[in-house]
């Protein structure tokens, strides 16, 4: 009589589908059937459509704007310009980086594609016709696209609005195109180390401009209900609450009268963190017309105007002993921010967490300075699948290590090994100011090298070089190594805020009488599967099956305040809030259980899905029974109901790390490459859903592949963006993308309630140097030190040609 046997403890754990389970995603039934609800799917009665007239010039004065012909087109209802927004004070808006940005061109334009006028029409075709018909008279001004030239004495003044202002949001400005200087570490001490070092390697490492380019572009629908004074704003927002606060601050509409909703989001990768002119113009147009107004970017708008990433020129010096022990690191970065500083970094970090650039290594002395510069390029500087400039930092140090290895004539794997921070040094205080919470780099490194058969690969490579020299092959072998350390989970309110909003996050849980639940969070999924994984955290914490827990995000009318999803912060911050809220539920459940079992609170203990009387496991109350009791029993001294809310302010960041190895074949004559093997070991602490982690790693590595091997936002001397379509902007297809081997070690975060660290961005952070190092490594035997990304076929061919390999 099997059906009488109570389920075993293992079976009970299994049925919860809690942490560690590769639970299938609850989101997928909708998405696979085409029943997602993305912003462009929203249709409202009377909805209008807005589109931008954009500048063809990178730097020009606007002499006049004539909308007459546009307004004569059937269906065109309004044309907004800066003059219309000025009385509302909305022709400029604050950026997340302490700068301000034109909503619509105010007298001049600073980059190609800049928003000049907003045409509102009955449908998207009429709006496009209207944009064509607006006549703008421009007077071209001299263009500067090179950040070094922008700092020349006689460079054109880009930001006339700031002329004469010597103090910026982040300290003194020393030139009319200079934004800020940000420093970390010890300058003099580092210079002394460099002066007296046995070996110093010096190099300029450029991480080129690129773009997050999610498959769904940015967009919104603004709907102002003039009768009740409420504004509803649907949009592709990675941080809906922050958008609500920003909209309230700049529009003057009280925050309780604004509802911001992020529906399903078709990928974000940092592109959807900022506030864009399209949002502001849609809100204004809805107020003006009294109708809902939709604005959706097309791909060219997206690539040319919203949210570029990187564009860091990183000059590095690394000092070491002859044996390879690193003694100091110096870095000066010139950061090209385009026309406005629209980075999305925590306020006190204008260069993000670039000061994690000592990487995985125990470097006693270091100094970093970053100079932000204006140029005639699109604004942004967002974290493209990265935690605030961590990708730049990781690329920098992982290139410098390789260059030092060349300088020392050492194996790059060994050089890393002798400089890793040791397990017993954690928590580790870095020279540039961070406290690394935990790590075990040597174990991960050895596992990775063993998995790929590192020594054999090096032998094969040496043989290949000889065969090449004998004229027997035209293919070289590159072994790309990377050991990265990330810093994610921004962040502790004491040093992390955006526009003054502390970067905590939140979770609110309601348990229903019948033992199911709803949890609401301040974050928003863009494909990471929050509805699946946050339910798993809760299932393990409160003992109700994940399948009985609905997770809801993105609606500011219902969700508790939070700072949103980017910088791999959802698991470290909102995941922690979820666990903490779950623990509050459990604490109350314990009291209810004790009452029901007629014992003292301390005499019951939690066991998977129930509270049992200590020492008498046959006496128990399941969480389901407890939930019902919370609503139907009058329990002395305990309020009815079972709900909890937690706002979690993390005590520290988390520091995921990983070891990646890429084995690449390069054809010297065509510059083409083939990825023979890619091994990715990630340590993201406690693993919530291994299936989802693996998926995140595959996706992040493919974005890294794109960036390293071909993707860029490029400009010509006139400031024309040369990469405005998916024809020019490289996105790998299934054909170019290799299979990846994933692996892991587990070093839980000591300060996180469930030990999780976040993983979504690690593969981008670690992937880019792994691919790039593979290219460099293939040519190391022939004298290559440094060649800038992206390594497309043409550039690889040029490397080979420059090294004289074409005979």
């Amino acid at each position: 009589m099997n059906d009488m046997t109570p389920p075993s403890r293992e079976e009970r754990i299994e049925s919860l589908k809690g942490m560690g389970s590769s639970r299938k995603r609850v989101e997928d039934a909708r998405f696979t059937q085409g029943k997602g609800n993305y912003v462009d799917d929203i249709k409202m009665p009377g909805m209008l459509f807005g589109d931008f007239v954009r500048s063809p010039y990178a730097h020009a004065r606007i002499k006049s704007i004539d909308s007459e012909a546009a307004l004569a087109i059937p269906g065109v209802l309004a044309v907004l310009t800066a003059k219309d927004l000025e009385p509302l004070g909305l022709h400029w808006m604050p950026t997340l980086a302490g700068d301000k940005q034109m909503v619509l061109a105010d007298g001049k334009v600073l980059f190609q594609g800049q928003e000049v006028a907003f045409v509102v029409a009955t449908d998207r075709y009429a709006a496009a016709d209207g944009c064509e018909a607006v006549v703008v008279d421009y007077e071209e001004l001299p263009v500067v696209v090179d950040p070094f030239k922008a700092l020349a004495e006689d460079a054109p003044v880009l930001r006339e609005d700031l002329e004469g202002q010597t103090e910026g949001a982040h300290g003194p400005r020393r030139h009319h195109n200079h934004i800020f200087t940000w420093e970390a570490g010890e300058k003099e001490a580092t210079e002394q180390v460099l002066d007296s070092a046995e070996v110093v390697a010096e190099e300029m490492v450029y991480y080129h401009r690129t773009h997050p380019c999610p498959l769904e572009p940015c967009g919104c629908v603004a709907s102002m209900d003039k009768v009740n004074g409420k504004l509803t704003l649907y949009g592709t927002f990675q941080a809906p609450h922050a958008i609500r606060t920003v909209v309230s601050l700049i529009s003057g509409i009280e925050e309780h009268n604004i509802r911001v909703v992020s529906p399903d989001i078709g990928g974000g990768f940092g592109n959807k963190v900022g506030a864009y002119p399209g949002y502001v113009c849609s809100v204004v147009a809805s107020i003006v017309t009294g109708k809902p107004v939709k604005w959706i970017e097309d791909r060219m708008d997206n690539l040319m105007t919203t949210a570029f990433a990187r564009d860091y020129w990183m000059k590095g010096k690394i000092a070491a002993t002859k044996e390879g022990k690193i003694t100091g690191l110096w870095c000066h970065t010139t950061a090209d921010h385009g026309g406005f500083d629209a980075c999305a970094d925590p306020t006190k970090f204008p260069a993000g967490f670039m000061n994690i650039c000592t990487g995985s290594y125990d470097i006693p002395t270091a100094y970093l300075a970053v100079d932000g510069v204006y140029t005639n390029k699109a604004p942004g500087g967002v974290a493209y699948r990265c935690s605030f400039r961590v990708t730049e930092a990781a690329y920098f140090i992982e290139r410098m290590i390789e260059i030092l290895a060349i300088e020392l004539g050492m194996d790059a794997a060994e050089l890393r090994r002798i400089n890793f921070i040791k397990k017993e040094q954690f928590p580790y205080q870095s020279a540039l100011g961070w406290e690394y919470d935990s790590g075990d780099y040597h174990t991960a490194w050895d596992k990775a090298l063993k998995a790929v058969g590192y020594d054999d690969l090096r032998k094969e490579q040496a043989e290949r070089v000889e065969a090449f020299n004998r004229g027997e092959t035209r293919k070289l072998l590159g072994i790309g190594l990377t050991h990265f350390t990330e810093i994610v989970g921004a962040g502790p309110v004491k040093n992390c805020d955006i526009l003054g909003l502390g970067m905590f996050d939140s979770c609110e849980i309601r348990i229903h009488p019948t033992g199911s639940a709803i949890a609401r969070l301040g974050t928003i999924s863009q494909g990471q599967g929050h509805a699946t994984t946050f339910a798993q955290i809760l299932a393990s914490e409160i003992g109700l099956p994940a399948d009985s827990i609905t997770v809801e995000e993105g609606d500011t009318d219902t969700a508790p305040y939070g700072l949103g999803t980017y910088g791999s912060r959802s698991t470290p911050v909102a995941g922690a809030a979820t666990a903490m809220a779950g623990r509050k539920i459990r604490a109350k459940a314990q009291m209810i259980a004790a009452y029901l079992l007629e014992v003292h609170d301390d005499d019951v203990e939690f066991d998977v899905d129930r509270f049992v009387v200590k020492g008498a496991p046959e006496r128990f109350k399941t969480m389901k029974e407890i939930a019902f009791a919370a609503y139907n029993q009058a329990i002395p001294g305990i309020e009815p109901g079972l709900e909890a809310v937690s706002y979690y302010d993390p005590p520290n960041m988390t520091y995921p790390f990983g070891a990646y190895i890429c084995v690449m074949e390069i054809d010297v004559d065509t510059g083409t490459h083939e990825i023979r093997q890619f091994y990715a070991l990630d340590d993201c602490g406690t693993r919530i859903n291994p299936m989802i982690i693996e998926g995140q790693v595959h996706g992040g590595l493919t974005e890294a592949l794109a960036i390293a091997m071909g993707q860029e936002i490029a400009y010509d001397e006139m400031g024309n963006c040369k990469t405005g379509t998916l024809m020019d902007f490289f996105i790998p297809t299934a054909w170019e993308t290799p299979n990846y081997t994933t692996d892991h070690t587990t070093t839980p975060s000591p300060h996180h309630p469930i030990g999780a660290k976040g993983v979504g961005e690690s593969p981008n952070v670690g992937g880019v140097p792994a691919f790039s190092n593979a290219v460099h490594d293939a040519f190391r035997a022939f004298g290559l030190r440094q060649s800038h990304m992206p390594h497309d076929h043409w550039r690889i061919w040029k490397i080979a040609n420059g090294l004289g390999l074409h005979g």
């Binding site: 998405f31 059937q33 999610p214 078709g266 998926g695 297809t733 299979n739 990846y740």
Partner: protein, 163 residues
């Protein structure tokens, strides 16, 4: 520009739509017929998010005018399966984590469906080549390929069992 009536067959139903000659099929599908499964990722025929099936061929519906498809048979993701009867591909994408944000997914599945008609037992390489018109920014394709191969195997097994 004047609007005209066009008759198109969508997911087995005859539809009369009123459109300008320049209206793209993707806009007619999404805005007039409220079939919002096919998505817009570029409108320049590079991404495949808008993929539908027209008379037995995979077509990016942002590359054709509605006027060009008058009288033709169009299948969108909405015509492939239903909440009570998911298509094998839909099930396999879920099972093998072949999607993340879901934005490329309707186009992917619609294309994969046609690919498996063209070649019911593709190799991994053939799947990768056959799907190269559809971009995904989230998954890195590995699990998409796995999902399609698993669907092919299951469809072939079902066919064999039926014979």
């Amino acid at each position: 520009m004047g609007k005209q009536h066009y008759q198109i067959n969508v997911n087995g139903e005859a539809k009369d739509v009123l459109a300008e000659p320049r209206e793209l099929l993707i806009h007619t599908l999404r805005e007039q017929l409220e079939l919002t499964g096919p998505h817009i990722g570029c409108e320049t025929s590079h991404c495949g998010a808008c993929t539908v099936d027209i008379d037995g061929k995979s077509v990016k519906s942002c590359t054709v005018f509605t006027a060009q498809v008058a009288g033709k048979d169009i299948t969108t993701i909405e015509g492939l399966g239903s909440p009570d009867g998911m298509h094998v591909l839909q099930e396999k994408f879920r099972e093998h984590h072949g999607l993340q944000c879901g934005y490329c997914t309707p186009g992917m599945i619609t294309r994969a469906h046609r690919l498996l008609q063209e070649n019911p037992s593709p190799t991994e390489e053939e799947v990768r080549f056959g799907m190269a018109g559809n971009l995904c920014r989230c998954t890195g394709y590995q699990n998409i390929v796995k999902s399609i191969l698993a669907a092919a195997a299951e469809m072939n097994a079902a066919k064999e069992a039926a014979e």
